[in-house]
């Protein structure tokens, strides 16, 4: 497999804190990759560097054969990297329909047709099961539905790489189950990079797992090998594995 995303010697320092420290990282096209690690390990900083929300102190990032290290965030989204925020980030005062339409209307090749826009928005709402709430203001949705809405917005961008930052945080058990099903349908269309604390979700979905600790990559491999890795157990799984 050819890597879709590659980062070399990637660092980001906040003052004296090395949030991400000389990381080499790559994601293959088509895989579901989980990034795990204790709080403060640098997971969110890493994906923020990848999607361009923050600039690296050093290192290079390549996506789809192109150097994107200096590319502004909005152009990376256009190149195919979609990001869903750790803290739900939607348009609270706009209806569900408009939230998704904002994602769709940017990607439509046929920018003129109102019908095409409408059809794509309805598709996206159907995919995550929000069709009946099309005209509900996003702020009035339950927390679980807001997370789904944000995923729908990410999906509507038709990304090559979808970055999900702690998507199951705050969801009920039933919602987590639905989420796992949803990701299994999404993976047919996009490569997925998943930051997740819920080990059950990680073990069920990930093809490979990257473990971070103190800004560095501690281990990387299949779920089975990560589970068996003594270093990982010591740093992280020992306390969290169910």
């Amino acid at each position: 497999m050819k890597p879709l995303l590659i980062a070399r010697n990637l660092s980001r320092h906040f003052g004296g804190l090395k949030a991400v420290d000389m990381v080499d990282f790559s994601v293959d096209a088509g895989e579901v990759r989980a990034v795990i690690g204790p709080n403060g390990a640098g997971k969110t900083t890493l994906v923020s560097l990848l999607c361009g929300r923050i600039q690296p102190s050093s290192g290079v990032i390549g996506f789809n054969g192109q150097d994107i290290t200096r590319m502004p965030a909005h152009l990376r989204v256009r190149a195919g990297i979609a990001y869903t925020f750790q803290i739900t980030s939607i348009f609270p005062n706009l209806p569900v329909y408009d939230n998704i339409a904002l994602a769709v209307q940017r990607t439509l090749a046929d920018g003129r047709s109102r019908k095409a826009l409408d059809a794509s928005v309805r598709d996206a709402m159907l995919h995550v099961g929000l069709t009946e709430r099309a005209s509900t203001p996003a702020a009035a949705l339950s927390y679980g539905h807001q997370r789904l809405l944000e995923i729908a917005m990410g999906l509507a961008l038709h990304p090559r790489l979808l970055i999900l930052d702690e998507p199951t945080q705050g969801l009920s058990d039933g919602e987590v189950k639905d989420f796992i099903k949803l990701v299994r349908t999404i993976r047919k269309e996009a490569t997925i990079l998943l930051i997740e604390h819920n080990m059950d979700v990680v073990m069920k979905l990930a093809d490979r797992i990257t473990v971070m600790d103190s800004g560095r990559i501690l281990a990387e491999g299949s779920p089975r090998s990560i589970r068996a890795n003594a270093k990982v157990q010591q740093a992280y799984l020992g306390t969290a594995d169910a």
């Binding site: 965030a73 909005h74 980030s89 939607i90 408009d98 339409a101 994602a103 940017r106 917005m153």
Partner: protein, 325 residues
């Protein structure tokens, strides 16, 4: 969705304004001509403040760029009115492009301060270049320059009726431009920037470019209002570049309802009469005190922000008519 209802409502308002020309006494007819032009200014301000969520305290400079751009070309260069009007719009839009490139690097309070400082520079410049602008005293455009002769048609803008309809035409055109923008995909992106800028960026939108467009359109419309003001009322002076003309459109928009198409008109009408009326009452009640109408404006602004942040149409939309654009 709702397009028919929205167009009907806007046409109704325009028809109502046309009808008022017959019904109103001369004094109020003059007030309404002025108010319609100022409402255009407020509609321009509303694009940036109401829809895009950028609070500028410098729109006096765009209004007066239109005012001077049109007035000075007529006065000094003797250009015809149509060309002078377009020059006014161009001056405001070009100025806003330049200032936007700098000021839009800031947000929130910093944006307010930066725009206000630029507007003060513009205001002082109108005084400094008094040789051409005639500063405080201003330029009075002679009646002979405020005419359009057009293939047998003859418009004299010092005539109150002609003036009224010219103001109404400008108002109607800008009203429908605003409605078009609000309903367009571009309008939806502007609202998205207001609601959640970071999310908008992470949907792949160039936030800076969209804000810059919003500013240029907003300033262009404000400039059109300024240009019309100069040509219809025949006076160009630096008062219009002073800070109060940056605060007034904010007040009109807040009173009528930010991010509503018709709010600016309602806010401008009510505020105009409130100031007019309260000045009379206060002068009669306490004749020894020398009240400034700016005091009334200030109190109204504070009360609105504290107790009535959605304004008149914003409240109506929230409670009863969600389809209002």
């Amino acid at each position: 969705m709702n397009l028919g209802k929205q167009i009907f409502l806007h046409l109704l308002v325009i028809a109502l304004l046309a009808g008022l020309e017959y019904l109103l006494p001369v004094y109020h007819q003059g007030v309404f001509a002025r108010v319609m032009v100022l409402a255009v200014f407020a509609m321009g301000y509303n694009i940036l403040f109401g829809y895009t969520g950028l609070l500028s305290l410098g729109h006096a400079m765009f209004f007066s760029a239109g005012l001077y751009g049109a007035g000075m070309t007529v006065y000094h260069l003797d250009w015809g009115l149509p060309l002078a009007f377009l020059t006014g719009i161009f001056c405001a839009a070009a100025l806003s492009l330049l200032i936007g490139l700098l000021a839009l690097r800031t947000t929130g309070v910093a944006f307010m301060i930066v725009t206000m400082m630029f507007a003060q520079v513009f205001f002082l410049a109108t005084l400094y270049f008094g040789e051409w602008t005639r500063g405080d005293e201003g330029i009075v455009l002679p009646q002979a320059t405020r005419l359009i002769e057009f293939s047998g048609l003859h418009f004299d803008f010092s005539n109150p009726v002609t003036r009224y309809y010219a103001a109404l035409v400008l108002f109607a055109v800008v009203l429908f431009i605003t409605l078009g923008i609000v309903r367009s995909r571009f309008g939806r992106v502007l609202v998205a920037i207001r609601e959640n800028e970071e999310r908008t960026r992470m949907l792949g939108y160039n936030v800076f470019a969209n804000k810059l467009w919003a500013l240029v359109i907003s300033a262009g419309i404000s400039g059109a209002a300024g240009a019309a003001y100069a040509l219809l009322f025949g006076y160009v002076g630096s008062t219009f570049a002073s800070v109060q003309y940056s605060i007034l459109p904010l007040l009109w928009v807040l009173l009528g309802g930010a991010s509503t198409t018709l709010g600016p008109l309602i806010g401008t009408v009510l505020m105009y009469y409130l100031v007019d009326f309260s000045s009379d009452v206060l002068a009669r009640a306490v004749p020894d005190w020398n009240f400034s109408y700016l005091g009334v404006v200030g109190v109204a602004l504070i009360l609105l922000v504290l107790f009535f942040p959605k304004g008149i149409l914003g409240t109506i939309r929230a409670r009863w008519a969600r389809w209002l654009p």
